[in-house]
Symmetry: C2
Subunit: 384 residues, 2 copies
């Protein structure tokens, strides 16, 4: 929102509203519907759309008529309009995709990397291979906290507060955030949390990363390192955590907790497959594996209940291992959650939902923050 507010800003403001509506909509809508949606006249809508078409931001295509009335046009992304690239940087692979206004994604390239910051150079090269005039912003999802938005710490790659301003120096405009937060954002914007005012999302992998989602925005905290819900002592563990504290929730939930149960050292190498193996065995009837799964689910539910007491989410969505946990042990999770809820809340517990964006969460979320950087008053004023 601009400091000043003149008539010209008014026009831009309405155009941002329109673009945002197109981007957020589940289905394309017509110009007449847009006018109703924004509460403006058909004449005004025509003017707004006209300028946006001129700026190659929106495109009008004939809509198949439905019932009576003069035919109208559907508002769709302009085929030559700006585009966003999204990067999902995972443990030893990465994915690059192009994403249109509205969220349609096209995978461009994937690759493996050597777990050193040189990976950023590789990915930059991949971006360059596909880069065109249309590229406006790159959204980047990585694991690990990014303190103050520019110091990246990925413990399982041994990256200790790597300076992103250097790594991203020759990149196009790039916005970056961590994968758990972006997965939550994706569920909030395009998944099972859509439309919720207060919600939470947790990605369960080796440990738990999460985010609080308020009105479709992922909260970042004062130093951009909010979301380490896994490092609260919610389940009474007495073990020491890799984070440097004792008793973290993550010690009882996720792949590391499953693996530790079978005498394996928690680690980032083969742990994920082993955890999947344990799930399979539990599903097949193995007693010990089933007990490990039970404990994992109960600890998950207990922590969710504790957090629900404090933050009162309408719903909680899970991704990663959490989806499997819901599939195999929904009742256990919900019971443990209820038990941890204050008595007066038990008649209305938060919904616990499997994420619907799935493994595309970080990529989808990265695209969302990239588009967030575009769909602003200032960007549009420059563009027009």
């Amino acid at each position: 929102m601009p400091q000043t507010m003149t008539s010209a800003d008014l026009r831009i403001r309405n155009q941002v509203r329109l673009l945002r509506a197109v981007h957020d909509a589940a289905e394309p809508f017509t110009r007449a519907e847009a006018a109703r949606l924004l509460g403006i006249g058909r004449n005004t809508a025509a003017a707004l759309v006209g300028e946006l078409e001129q700026a190659r931001l929106l495109h009008e295509v004939p809509a198949e008529s439905s019932g009576r009335g003069r035919p109208t046009t559907l508002l769709v992304p302009h085929p030559e309009g700006p585009q966003v690239f999204a990067v999902d940087f995972r443990e030893d692979t990465w994915t690059l995709a192009a994403v249109e206004l509205g969220g349609a994604a096209t995978e461009l390239e994937t690759g493996e990397h050597d777990r050193t910051p040189a990976a950023f150079t590789e990915i930059r090269a991949a971006v360059a291979r596909h880069e065109s005039e249309r590229l406006a912003v790159v959204g980047f999802a990585t694991s690990g906290p990014i303190r103050d938005g520019h110091r990246l710490h990925i413990s399982h790659l041994g990256w200790d507060e790597v300076e992103l301003d250097t790594l991203l120096a020759d990149w196009p405009t790039t916005v970056i955030d961590n994968d758990a937060r972006l997965a939550g954002l994706a569920e909030s914007r395009r998944g099972v949390l859509r439309g919720m005012g207060t919600a939470m999302h947790f990605h369960i992998d080796f440990d738990i990363g999460g985010t609080l989602l308020l009105a479709g925005d992922a909260q970042r905290g004062g130093h951009n390192i909010a979301g380490e819900f896994g490092h609260m002592p919610l389940t009474g563990s007495t073990l020491e955590c890799m984070c440097g504290v004792r008793g973290c929730w993550s010690l009882d939930v996720g792949a590391n907790a499953l693996v530790r149960r079978f005498g394996k050292e928690p680690g980032y190498g083969t742990g994920r497959e082993l955890a999947q193996e344990i799930l399979r065995r539990a599903e097949a009837g193995d007693k010990e594996a089933a007990a490990a799964l039970d404990d994992n689910a109960a600890a998950l539910g207990k922590g969710l209940g504790a957090l629900a007491n404090a933050l009162d989410p309408e719903a909680i969505s899970l991704s990663g291992l959490g989806v499997e946990l819901i599939r195999l042990r929904r009742n256990l999770i919900e019971d443990a959650c209820r038990e941890q809820l204050m008595a007066f809340r038990r008649d209305d517990p938060p919904q616990i939902l499997a994420g619907t964006v799935g493994s595309a969460g970080p990529l989808t979320g990265a695209a969302e923050i990239a588009w967030d950087a575009i769909l602003t008053h200032d960007w549009l004023r420059e563009r027009l």
Copy 2:
């Protein structure tokens, strides 16, 4: 913000911005400063202020000249403009105050009550005794969660989901929220948390109530019952809590925890004085009291550290017993907090601050939410 956005809405929008600036400012400012602040011309500022003076919302008084230049006027609340009443409804007393635009408060009346919902009738009568044409909104602070904004539960008064729509039926427009949240809002708007993007506040009394403050707004959750941070199992207690769960943080922090240490049943009668007595004894050198205080402070710090991991506040402010705890045991709290912080956060722990609004927190916060109801586009459009 209105659905539509016409030129007339533009004027109102700028007037809301101006009124909000006047309300939020620490010191009154002049019309010329207002123009600079809002980024508008002096002519436009004159028009805005003129209409607001006409509507009895702002008043201009000559400003003592500072240096050269034509003298200007200070923008102050209009002496006949709208007023807000704030009510602080405590355990067995209440306070009613009138609050001007800008936050200046005048206490109107105080009283005791019989701990039944009839107290609301008493307070309504007090409101009526002072009510005038100027009264616009009443802000009401009470303890206890208010589910969905209209079902009030105060366990220590034995109120079980009392229906506020009935109790407040014959009241003027009234907004209500709980005291801990409003105390946090007060710190955030007019106290030690002013200007922070992410902060937390905890009121420590018999137990712990708190709120997450984002950009000056207290978060309410999906059912308006967020903030029960005291009912997370953060300190490993094995006791059963009155809330119906085992192990709550509140069992180790606050007056109940202090009192229990000396074999007294936690309760809401004489517990507060006894807790103060224990503090005095600890200060005087009593070993046992000092140990109780130590444990309380350490448990407080530990919980704050856990929450800081998850929510990453820039600062945390405390009220109630928390102020005393900071005064007597700041180092213990900070050390326990640090110890619970993930290692990579320990070089930048959240500031732990004593609230500066003090016991006026709930009343001040109630006035803020009342003014929030006024300083809106819709209200101003009606008023002009």
